[in-house]
Symmetry: C2
Amino acid sequence: MSLADDMHDLGRKAREASRVLLQTPTAQKDRALLAAAAAIRARADSILAANRRDMEEASAADLSEALLDRLLLNPARVEAMAKGVETVARLPDPVGHRLDAWDVAANGLHIEKLAVPLGVIAVIYESRPNVTADAGALCLKSGNAAILRGGSESFHSSQAILHALHEGLRDAGLPEDAIQLVPTTDREAVGLLLGMTEFVDVVVPRGGVSLNERVRQESRVPTLLHLAGNCHTYIHAAADATTAVAVTHNAKLRRTGVCGATESILIDRAVLKTIGAAVVKDLLDNGCELRGDAEVQKLDARIKQAHEEDWSTEYLASIVSVKMVGGIDEALAHIARYGSHHTDAIITEDKDAAQRFTAAVDSAIVLVNASTQFADGGEFGFGAEIGIATGRLHARGPVGLKQLVTYKYVLTTARDGGAIRAG
Amino acid sequence: MSLADDMHDLGRKAREASRVLLQTPTAQKDRALLAAAAAIRARADSILAANRRDMEEASAADLSEALLDRLLLNPARVEAMAKGVETVARLPDPVGHRLDAWDVAANGLHIEKLAVPLGVIAVIYESRPNVTADAGALCLKSGNAAILRGGSESFHSSQAILHALHEGLRDAGLPEDAIQLVPTTDREAVGLLLGMTEFVDVVVPRGGVSLNERVRQESRVPTLLHLAGNCHTYIHAAADATTAVAVTHNAKLRRTGVCGATESILIDRAVLKTIGAAVVKDLLDNGCELRGDAEVQKLDARIKQAHEEDWSTEYLASIVSVKMVGGIDEALAHIARYGSHHTDAIITEDKDAAQRFTAAVDSAIVLVNASTQFADGGEFGFGAEIGIATGRLHARGPVGLKQLVTYKYVLTTARDGGAIRAG
């Protein structure tokens, strides 16, 4: 069989499994998840052996230390993976809820809007093998069949994890095709997945900018993309100094590689030499590289000069651009021009300014006196997330179980004799 | 300037207008709509003159009678257009509602989920000039900037209608760029629109299968597509005869060209010779062409033979395929195989069968004892709709004002001292 035939077969089987999952009761899905978690623990040795094989091939291929670390599994990480699957089992089922209901007086219809699974979700990710378990569990809990395409480096690890997930599915009497792994590292398989509109309902890429851009350019299947996180923290004239320093420190330095990390700090002219100076000193003293405009540079000799491209750069590193703004209007205009509609924060004690900022900034997440690093499904209380969406359709911000469902309308007659004929 | 430059300019202006609309109060939007409706009436003569020009060119180009009728405006249709815009003004504003709100105990965050506009919506439609007013009004009311691309046949009519809409926007102090029309009939402009991810947030095609397929193939911008409406009516063993005949008649014949029209009737073996015969006779006597399987053909000599392709054909005409099924399982399997996930109905007095059908059929709309032609925003009580979506992300079924918004999260601290740092 050709690769295209293989992928078609995979898609067809996913669609068939999705028809079963559509109606699978919560208890059965949870049983599969708990059995899968147990199987991950029981199969830890073979998962670790498969991972050693991946690690050896990756070392031979001279991959970076960072990538090797993402690829590495150890007993603690395997246990965390099993715990993650158990966490998903304990989360509420997003399927079946009545989202809305109303009667239409004019025709006597009774309409219910019910949450139903999306169908088949393809998740394309890079080297972390734990995504195989995470994404598989989230799709299963939300009643969706999953087609997983992991990074080629983690191929053997992912296969071993998949065996555990299948054990869980079998234990609960569910089809193994509910969670499938693309059985090849051929890059062409991704292209085929992105065109399988008949079998795939949504594509979720979990990886860097280049993967997301490829998916945006090529996919015929609707996507939940994560494009950029150029997040801002604006220190308003009425900011509290202690809050400003604490929030900015966390927003920039807690973890520099996450999409919710602040990449640009805007400081109001009125507080530049007071609060601004304190914020800047704290970051510099903690080893952060600052790139400022001329006014900001005057605060400290360690501040480098910012260039135009800095305002739109997502560093994902211990670097931040810093700009003085004349007031909230200039801050809003700057964010509108350079921001990525992901996450932006204002530090202020002025309720009107906070209200103006949260209304005007057109981002998935806007915060008042809190760190942009709260842009995370865990912090939102979602329990688990498959990623963060930067698009505007369907899901915006963290994508948890509730975002992995769609809805259907069920129409019945609200009263005898009404509503059987459209008028 | 090149066409690409023109389109870029159009997109940039739409994005700028969308930033204004994001925060425009309901009263101001409604004022613009009411003024636009008045302007449509006041400018009726020039709209009709522009339409005569379109009609002359269309007649010279030998367009079909059906197309000419879709293109034609007359005083009654202009009045209906003005009334339609007034209807949208009276509908509730979908923007600003608090869709959800919760506190996260673990970190002290207070999270609000608020309805906000999508941004810039491009609507691509065919010959009906009234879509210019309808789509422009719906986008404006939902706080979105609109880029409208009408059919080349209706170019002058649409321009004249646009002048009226602009008069309304000016009257309310809103930017004219809130509603723009692609100022050329060049087909390449559509291709450019579909690639303008920087400026266009959603593409809504309103037209036939070929337009929707082109958009699906080419668009880099997320879309709300309408692909197919192969709708089924299943007459269950426990159907009521009168209901079955009345509903099927309406579902097939009320209007045959709408996407919610029934294209396949499934008749349970148990009632084939009783209710099935009555349903078939009613349709045949009313001039409908029936294509049946061997068992169905035995009911009446006028029934033609159905071929495999009939089960997946959307006739949009006074033709229907009819199949006998052994029971609900076979009906469900047939719909899963041939259906288009649009709208399907069961006729039954058996509550369990109804429940099984509505749970198992994976369509946007499922009905019990009611006509598939209820698949319509008007019948849902939406007041107005921009179309019906057959995709699964964001909007499924009728797309009214509530489906033309997305959401943002606003995060504040729920209690003193909490929640400024992500943990």
